[in-house]
C-alpha cells in the first residue's frame, strides 16, 4: 500500500515533529509512505477568504501531486476536510478536474481516521505517563465525523489515561484568519477552552489540528499555565523520537 503524506503548511513551518511522528506511525504500520516534494498548502486560506480562483489553482496543484497514490493521509482534520469535502465542489463545474478531485477526495483521510478505520491499527508505539484531555477540532468532528478514532488510538498508548474536558466539541476560537481578524473575539472564545482544560486537570491537551493547538497553547501560556503540555495526537501516538 503506497500512500502520500500531506504534512500541511502549518506542520511544515511550525511543528515539523508532527509530520515526522505521522511518518513514523504510518511506516511502522507497514505502509510505503511518499512525501510529495512539491506540496505547499491545500489552499484553504484562499477558500475561506472567498477567493475561489486562488483556491482552485492550489487545489489543482495538490490534486496533481496526490493522485498517484492509493491513499492520502493528512495530520489535520481541517486540511483533510478541504481536500475531501471542498475540492469536489470547488472543481465540480470543471470537466477536466471534477473526476480527479473526486478521486483524490475519496482516497484522502485524516490521520487518526486512516489509522483506526482503514488500517484498523491495534497497537501504537507511543507511551505517555499521565492523563490527557482531547479537544475535538471542528472540521474534523463536524466535517469528517472524526470523534471515536483518536480516542480509540489514544486508549492503546501505554500509561495514558483520558480525562475528557467539558464541552470538548466546542470550538477553540482559531478559525484561521478569524484569530487574527477578530483577535479579541478569538481570545474570549479560547479563554473558555482554557478554563475547560484547566477543569479537566490533565497533564496534556491533545488534538488533531495544529492551528487549534497553537491557539490553545498560545493562550494557555499567556494566561500563565506553563504546566499543561499541548500535543498533536500524532506525537502522542508515535511516542518519543527514537534516538
Amino acid at each position: 500500500m503506497r500512500l502520500a503524506l500531506y504534512v500541511t503548511c502549518l506542520v511544515d513551518l511550525m511543528r515539523p515533529a508532527v509530520g515526522l511522528a505521522a511518518l513514523r506511525l504510518l511506516e511502522e504500520a507497514g505502509c510505503e509512505v511518499v512525501v510529495p516534494a512539491a506540496q505547499t498548502c491545500c489552499g484553504q486560506p484562499a477558500w475561506s477568504a472567498g477567493n475561489r480562483d486562488l483556491a482552485r489553482d492550489l487545489a489543482q496543484k495538490a490534486i496533481a501531486e496526490l493522485e498517484g497514490c492509493d491513499y492520502v493521509v493528512i495530520p489535520s482534520g481541517s486540511c483533510a476536510d478541504q481536500i475531501r469535502n471542498v475540492y469536489p465542489q470547488l472543481l465540480a463545474d470543471d470537466p477536466a478536474w471534477a473526476a480527479r478531485a473526486q478521486a483524490v477526495a475519496a482516497r484522502s483521510h485524516e490521520l487518526t481516521a486512516f489509522l483506526a478505520d482503514v488500517l484498523a491499527l491495534d497497537a501504537v508505539p507511543g507511551a505517555f505517563a499521565g492523563s490527557v484531555t482531547y479537544h475535538d477540532s471542528c472540521k474534523g468532528l463536524r466535517g469528517l465525523g472524526v470523534k471515536a478514532q483518536p480516542r480509540e488510538l489514544l486508549a492503546r498508548v501505554r500509561g495514558l489515561t483520558l480525562a475528557e474536558m467539558r464541552d470538548c466539541e466546542e470550538c477553540c476560537g482559531f478559525g484561521g484568519a478569524f484569530a487574527v481578524r477578530f483577535g479579541d473575539i478569538s481570545t474570549a472564545i479560547v479563554d473558555r477552552k482554557c478554563e475547560a482544560i484547566a477543569a479537566a486537570g490533565a497533564d496534556a491537551v491533545v488534538g488533531g489540528d495544529l492551528g487549534c493547538l497553537l491557539n490553545i497553547e498560545g493562550r494557555l501560556r499567556r494566561r500563565g499555565d506553563t504546566r499543561t503540555r499541548v500535543l498533536h495526537v500524532a506525537e502522542v501516538l508515535a511516542g518519543a523520537e527514537p534516538a
Binding site: 515539523p16 515526522l20 478569538s186 498560545g218
Partner: protein, 480 residues
Amino acid sequence: MTAAVRSQAMFFQARAARQARDSGLQKTLEKARPLFVGKRAKGLAGLADDGLDFAGLRAACEAIRRRVVDDLDVWLELFEARATAGGAEVLWARDGDEVARLVVDIAQRHGVTKAVKSKSMLSEEARLNEALAAAGIRPVETDLGEYIVQLAGEAPSHIIAPAVHKTLAEVEALFAQHHERPVQARTAADIPALAAEARAVLRQHFLSAEMGISGANFLIAESGSAALVTNEGNGRMVTTLPRVHVVVTGIEKIVPTLDDFATLMRLLPRSATGQGISNYVSLLTGTRGADEREGPEKTVFILVDNGRAALAGSDFAAMLRCIRCGACMNHCPVYFSLGGHAYGWVYPGPMGSVLTPLFTGIENALDLPHASTGCNQCGSVCPVNIPLPALMHRLREMQHERGLRPWRERLALRAWAWLAARPGLYRWATRRAARYLRWLTDESGRIRVLGLAPEWTAGRDLAPPPGRTFHELYAARKRA
C-alpha cells in the same frame, strides 16, 4: 436600503472588540449559555419517548420548509384566500417603511392611542415602535424581555430572549425607575416578584389598548390562521383583548397545512428552549364571530417582503427555511463572546450574519460573514438544516467578486498564493520564516510579540518552531 433599515453592522469590528472585553457582559452570557444548550439537548433526548429522533424530524421539517420556499407564491395566494374568507384583511408590504405606514394608518383609522405588542422581530426590521410613537400612538411591549429592553431604550439582543444581556440588578433598577418605587436588594429568588410586578403593570395596558400587534411563528395556508408560540400568555392578551389585531410577519413564515405545523412544532420549542411544547400555542383565525364573546373586531395580516422574495431561487434560498428558533446563536461561540448588540441590526448570531448583509446590503455588513470560525456548531443544530457556514462563505465570495475586500488583504492573499504555487521558492521562504521565528523567541522559549500578526500576540503567545522545516528535516533523514 430603506430608511427603516439603519443598520450599524459596519461597526461590527469596533463593537465586537468592546463587547468581547466586557467582563460583566461575558459573565451574564456565560450563565445563559449552558441553560440554552443543556435544555435543548434534554428536549431532543425526550423525542425518544415518542419514538422520534432529531435526524428524522429534521429531514421532515426541512422538506416542509423547502416545499414552501419552492412555491412561495402559491402558498401565499392560498393563505390570502383562506384568511380573507375567515374575515381577516390581508395586506402586503414591500419593506419596513411600508409596514410602518400601514400599521400607523390602520391605527389612525380606528382611533388607536395605545398598541400592545407581543414579540415580533419583523417590527424591529420596520422600526415600528418609532413610527408609532412619532404618530402619537404609544407602543407597549408585553413580552417580559421585550418590555425590559423597551424600558431600557435598547433593541433586543437575542431573537427569543431579548433581554438575555441584562442582569437582575439592571432589571431591578429599570423597574424601580419606571414603576416609580425605591430600588430594592434583589436575588434570583425575587425574579417571580419582578415578573408579577411587570404583569400588574402590563395588565392595565392590555385592558386599555385599542390595538394589539403580534408577529406569527407560522401562517397556515389551508386554514388562513396565524400560529403563535409563546410562554408568557401575553400573546393571547394582545391578540384577543384589543378591538383591532394586526399580525406583522414575513412572507416566508407560511406552512401548507396544520399537519405540517404540528411537525414543525416538534422541533421549534425543543430547539429554542428545550420544551416539548411551549406554554401557549395559539391558532388565530379570522375575527370575532357574531356569537363569540372574545377576539378582535378587526384582524389585519401584513405580509412583509423586505428582501425575502429576492432570496427565493437564489444561492440563499435555504435561509428562507429559518423558523427563528435561536438555536444557531445559542450554540455560537462568537455570539456568546459578544451578545447580540455587536451585530448591529435586528438579527444576531449566525442567522443574522447571513440575513443582515442580504437585507441591508452586502457592502454595509462586510465583517459579519467573516465573524465565524467556521465551526458549524450552528449548522449542526439547525432544525431545518440550513447550511449557515456555507451561506456565510458564499457571502465572502460575493464580497471578493465585487471587490469589496480591503486591498491589503487581497494583496497578501495573492502574494501568499503566488508563493504557494512555486514550491522551490516556497521552501526557501519557509526556511527563512522558520529561522526568523526561532530568532524572535525570548528567553522563556516563547514568542510574545509578532510584528507580522500583532493581533495574534495581543492575546496569545506563539510556540516557536524548532528552526528547521519538516521538508528540511525529511530531506536530511532521506540523505542519512
